[in-house]
Symmetry: C2
C-alpha cells in the first residue's frame, strides 16, 4: 500500500526562505512566523498521513454507489470528513464574517497540497464546496451570504458547480438548461447537467448547487447565461432545512480514476433556484474565481506527482536488482538497490526536480493571489491571470508525467494495484482535463492573456525575469553558469515565441494558435527555471547561515539537474512554434 | 463504445510501396503480391473488427476470475479464440513441418497489429504461446518439437514464459526456482513464478510452461539458469494428455489494465519438467527469440496508439464545440466541429504522425528479422539487434503518449469508461514495462548493442542513413528541405551523442548510462525521420503513377508535420545527454 509523508520541510523552506512571506507586506502574512506555519502544517500533516492517505485505496476500489437516489461514499469517508470539518480545515482561508479563519490563501494551498496528495478524490468534496463558497461570497446578496456561507465554510453543507451539459463542455454558449421566473422571485430550473463532482453524497446535510442556466429572454451564446443557487433542500428563513428540491442525481459516471469522488448526472426538474448577481451575467460570476479554481487543479497535479515520487523513491531504496556498473555498492547483499543505476536516478531526478519546481511555482501563484486580493494589487492580479493557465496546464501535464515516471520506477509492481502507483496515474489524469482542458488553457494563454491590457502582464513577467537576473548575476560564477545563463536562454526562447506570435498571428491567428500548447509548456519551463534559481539562491543563503546542509545541498543539486536536463526543452517548444500553422493545418478534415 | 477499423490501405502502402517487398529477394516474399496480402489482411480485418474489438471492453470490465484453481476468461473470449484458431491465424509464420503456414514474420506482424489494436489482452494468449513455440522450435530436441509444437501452432495448447520471481525481475541471476534431476531423466521443478501472462486459463486443453530454474550444481548468477518445459498436463507418448502436473495458479494480479489477460502467480511444487537445450544455458535459449518478442511489444504499443487515434479522430469529427477563429465552418450548426481548432489539429497530427511513423518502423524491423532468418543475413541480424531496444522502448513510450493524447482529444469523455479511450491508456501502459522495462531497453542499447561487434551495426545504421540521403538529394528541392535536411540534422545529433558516449563513457560508464534513455529516444526519432522520408518518396512516386491522391497527399503532409514538429526533439535529447552524469548522480541516496 502506498504511503504519504507530508513534505513539511520543503513547504517551510518555500514559505520562509524562498517566498520570505514575513517581509512581503501582505496583510495577514505578518502573523505567519515559522512557528505558526509549522504548527498548522504539522497538524494538517497528521490528518493527511494518518486519516486521509489510508482511505485513498479504499476510495479507489470501492468507489461511490448510487442507491435509491442517494450516493454512498466509500467506507470511512464520512468519519474522515467529520474530522476535517471538526479540525476547522475547511474554513482556513474563508471570511471570518461567516465563520472562516481568514488565513491567507497560501496557507490553504499548502494544506490543500497535503490533502490532495493523501486523497485527491476525498479532498474534492471540500474543494468543490469552497469553489461554490467563493462564487456566492463574491456575487451573492447579503441575504444569500448569510443564509448559505456559514454552513458551507464549515462544510456542514456541500457545494457544487454545474456547468457541463451533454452537448456543451468547453463551449458554454450552448447551454440549454432553462430558468423560468416564478411569482415569488425565485426561478424554476429545468435541465440536465453532467460530470458534476460531488453532485450528490452522504457526507453533508445539504448541497448547494450553483447552476448555469438561461432565462427566457436570454441572448444567445455565453452572454445569455445566468447563475443560480439551487439547494438540494430548500432553506427556511431560520436556517433550518425545508422541502426537498426538485432535483436528483440520475447516475454516476464510471471513470478512469478519482473513484472516491461522485461524478454525477444531475437532473433539474423545475427545481427552485435563486439568481446570483445580475441576469445574463452568470459566466462572469462563475469565472470570477477561475484563477483560484485553476490554480487548485494545478496544485492537484503537482500533489499527485509528489506522492507518486515519494513512493517510487521508497521502492527504489528497497528493491535490490543488479549491480552498480562502477563498483558494487552492497557486496554483502545479493544485489545492489536499484538506486545505483543511472537511469533509475535519471527517472527519480526528473520526478523530484519537476515536483519541487512545481510546488514553488504554485505557492508563488498563491502568494500572487493573496497580494492581488489583500493588497488590491492590480499588477499581481494581472500577473496571476497570465500565469494561471500555465500553472493549470503545465503543472497538471508534468504532474501526470511524474506519476507515470514514478510508476515506471517500480517496473511490474507499478502496474499492479497493490502498490498504488497506478492509482496516482489514473487520478492525476483528470487534472489535465477538468476546469478547462489543457488545450483550452493554452488557448486562454495565447488567445487572451498575452494581449490582455495591451500585453502589459507578459511584459511585466519578462521584466521580472530580467530584473532577477540583473540583480543576482556576477556574485557567484557557478550560480551564473548553472542557473542564470540557462534561465536567460530559456527566457529568450519565450520572448522569441511571443515575437513570432505577434508577427505572424496578426496575419493569421492560426499561426499563433498552432503553437499555443508548446507556448504554455515553454512558459512553464521558464517559470520553473525561475523558481529553481530562486530556490538555489535561498539554499545558498541558508547554507551560509548554517542551515540543514543535506537538505539545502540537495536543493542546489536538484536545481542544477532541472536547469541542465529539463530547461533545454524550451528550444524544442520554440522550434515547434516557429514551424507555424502550415504543418498543423495542412490536412483537409477528410484526409485525416 | 470504441470502434476499430483495420488500416489496410496504410498496411498495403507500407508493404508494397515503401518496403517494396516484391523486390527484396527474401524467400517467401515473392509470393506476396498485392492481391495475396490484400486477401490476408482483409480477412484478418474482419475478425479483428467484428469479433475481437467488441470483446475488448468486455474483457476490461469483467477481467479474469480464479475459481478453484481454474481461471475463467471473460465472456466471449473462448468462442473468439476458437475462431482465431479455426481461421489458422495462430499458425501464420510457424514452421510448416509442425502445421504452420510458413508465411513471413512481416505478414504475422501486420495481422498482429490488427489483433492487438482490436483486443490486446486477448491477443496476448496467442502471443505468449507463439513465444514459447519459438523457444522450443529453436532449442528443443526433435522429440520435444514433435510432441509440443503442432498443438502450440494451432493454439490447441497454450504456452507461457516463466521468468520473474518475487525477488527478481530484471536481474534474473537472482532466480531461486529449483530443478532436481529425477531418475527417469526428467526434473522436479519447485518454486514460485509471478506475473505469468496467460499462466492459467480455460481456452486451451493444455498449457506448456517454459520455466527458468537452477540445477543443483548450477553456478551462481545468470550462468546457472536452465530452461525447462513444464506442461500443465503431462503428455503421453501418443500425444494424449496424461496426469495433471504438480503446478497451480496461486492467484491473479489485480492490474491497471489488460484485465482480459490472466496474470498469474504460478506455484511449482515438484512439478515434472524437461530440460530444453543444455544445462545452465537457459538464458540463451530464452533470449534467442528476444528480438521478436520485443518487437512484438513495440507493435502492441503502436497498435494501442493506432486504435486510440482512430477513436479520437471519430470523436473530433462529430463533436461540435466553439467556432473556428478564422471563419465559421458550419454556419448552419450550433457550433463547428472541434476539428477546426488548431490545437485539436496539433494533437491529432501528433497522434497520426507518431502512429504511422511507428508502423513503418516496426514493419521495417519485421522485414529485417525475415531477412536475417530467411536469408541468413548477418548484417540484417546485427541491425535488428541494434534496433530492437529502440523499437520496444521508443514505440511503447510513444504509443502510450499517443493514447494519452487521444484521450485528451475527447475532453471529459476521454476520462469516462464508456468511450474506451481510458482503457487504451491503461492497456498501453504495460508495454513500457514488460519484456524488459524501457529503462532496461535503453541500457541494452547503450551498454551492449552500440559496441556490439566493434560498433559495426551502429556504423552500418549511420551509413544506411547517409546513403539514403546521398541517393535521394538534389532531385526535389522541397523534399530536400522538408525531409532530407531535418533527417541529416537529426542523424548528426545521434552521431554526436554516440561520440559523447565513446569519449566520456570510457572514463566513467555512468556518463553514458545517464544518457541512455535520451539516446534511445534520439535514436527512435532518427528512425522515424528515416521512415517518414521513405514514405514521402513512396507517396511522391505513387502520385506520379496516378495513385490515390487524397491518401498519398496526406502521407506527405503528415510526414512534413513529423519532420517539422517531432524530429527537432533530437536536439533536446542531445543536450540532456551532453550534460553528462554529474546532474544525474550528484545526490547521495540519503539526500533524495
Amino acid at each position: 500500500m502506498p504511503v504519504y509523508t507530508a513534505p513539511v520541510q520543503d513547504m517551510q523552506f518555500l514559505l520562509h526562505d524562498v517566498l520570505d512571506i514575513g517581509s512581503t507586506g501582505i496583510p495577514g502574512y505578518d502573523e505567519l512566523d515559522r512557528d505558526t506555519t509549522s504548527a498548522i502544517l504539522e497538524e494538517a500533516a497528521k490528518l493527511a498521513e494518518n486519516v486521509l492517505a489510508p482511505l485513498n485505496p479504499v476510495g479507489d476500489s470501492e468507489g461511490c454507489r448510487l442507491e435509491n437516489g442517494v450516493v454512498r461514499t466509500p467506507t470511512g469517508f464520512k468519519a474522515a470528513f467529520d474530522q476535517v470539518r471538526d479540525g476547522g480545515w475547511t474554513a482556513l482561508d474563508c471570511d471570518p464574517e461567516y465563520g472562516g479563519q481568514g488565513l491567507p490563501y497560501l496557507v490553504s494551498t499548502a494544506v490543500g497540497e497535503m490533502f490532495s496528495s493523501a486523497n485527491m478524490a476525498f479532498n474534492m468534496y471540500q474543494g468543490l464546496t469552497h469553489g461554490a463558497y467563493n462564487a456566492i461570497h463574491a456575487h451573492g446578496s447579503p441575504e444569500q451570504k448569510a443564509m448559505y456561507l456559514p454552513k458551507m465554510v464549515s462544510c456542514k453543507w456541500g457545494g457544487t458547480m454545474n456547468l457541463t451539459e451533454p452537448q456543451c463542455g468547453t463551449d458554454l454558449g450552448l447551454i440549454r438548461t432553462k430558468a423560468v421566473p416564478a411569482e415569488d422571485g425565485s426561478y424554476r430550473i429545468t435541465g440536465q447537467k453532467i460530470w458534476i463532482s460531488a453532485g450528490e453524497h452522504d457526507m453533508v446535510e445539504n448541497i448547494i448547487h450553483l447552476v448555469l442556466a438561461r432565462l427566457p429572454d436570454a441572448p444567445a451564446g455565453v452572454k445569455g447565461i445566468s447563475l443560480f443557487i439551487v439547494p438540494k433542500f430548500l432553506v427556511n428563513e431560520d436556517g433550518s432545512l425545508g422541502a426537498r428540491n426538485q432535483l436528483s442525481c440520475g447516475g454516476l459516471e464510471s471513470k478512469m480514476g478519482i473513484h472516491g469522488n461522485a461524478t454525477c448526472v444531475m437532473n433539474y426538474d423545475g427545481a427552485t433556484g435563486f439568481l446570483i448577481g445580475e441576469p445574463h451575467k452568470g459566466m462572469r460570476a462563475m469565472f470570477t474565481m477561475m484563477n483560484e479554481a485553476r490554480l487548485g487543479v494545478g496544485l492537484q497535479g503537482m500533489a499527485q506527482g509528489a506522492v507518486a515520487y515519494q513512493n517510487a523513491l521508497g521502492f527504489a531504496r528497497e528493491r535490490q536488482q543488479g549491480r552498480a556498473v562502477t563498483r558494487t555498492a552492497s557486496p554483502d547483499q545479493p544485489a545492489d538497490t536499484i538506486m545505483v543505476h543511472p537511469d533509475v536516478r535519471r527517472n527519480l531526478m526528473d520526478q523530484k526536480a519537476l515536483t519541487e519546481g512545481a510546488r514553488a511555482f504554485v505557492y508563488w501563484g498563491a502568494m500572487l493571489i493573496d497580494r492581488a486580493h489583500r493588497n488590491e494589487d492590480a499588477q499581481a492580479l494581472g500577473l496571476i491571470s497570465l500565469l494561471t493557465p500555465v500553472i493549470k496546464g503545465f503543472l497538471t501535464d508534468k504532474g501526470f508525467d511524474t506519476c507515470v515516471l514514478a510508476q515506471q520506477t517500480l517496473g511490474g509492481s507499478g502496474f499492479t494495484r497493490e502498490w498504488g502507483l497506478e492509482q496516482f496515474v489514473r487520478d492525476a489524469r483528470i487534472t489535465m482535463i477538468y476546469e478547462g482542458t489543457n488545450g483550452v488553457q493554452s488557448l486562454d494563454l495565447v488567445g487572451r492573456k498575452l494581449a490582455q491590457d495591451g500585453g502589459k502582464h507578459v511584459m511585466g513577467f519578462f521584466d521580472l525575469v530580467k530584473t532577477f537576473i540583473a540583480e543576482n548575476k556576477g556574485k557567484d560564477e557557478a550560480f551564473d553558469a548553472q542557473f542564470l545563463e540557462p534561465l536567460k536562454a530559456a527566457s529568450k526562447d519565450l520572448q522569441a515565441a511571443g515575437m513570432f506570435f505577434m508577427q505572424s498571428g496578426i496575419k493569421d491567428p492560426n499561426e499563433a494558435l498552432s503553437g499555443s500548447y508548446d507556448f504554455m509548456h515553454l512558459f512553464g519551463h521558464v517559470c520553473l527555471g525561475l523558481m529553481w534559481s530562486r530556490m538555489a539562491l535561498a539554499a545558498t543563503s541558508g547554507l551560509e547561515a548554517g542551515g540543514d546542509k543535506a537538505f539545502l545541498n540537495a536543493k542546489l543539486a536538484t536545481g542544477r539537474y532541472y536547469m541542465a536536463r529539463q530547461l533545454p526543452a524550451t528550444a524544442l517548444h520554440l522550434a515547434r512554434i516557429q514551424s507555424g500553422a502550415a504543418p498543423v493545418m495542412a490536412l483537409d478534415e477528410a484526409a485525416f
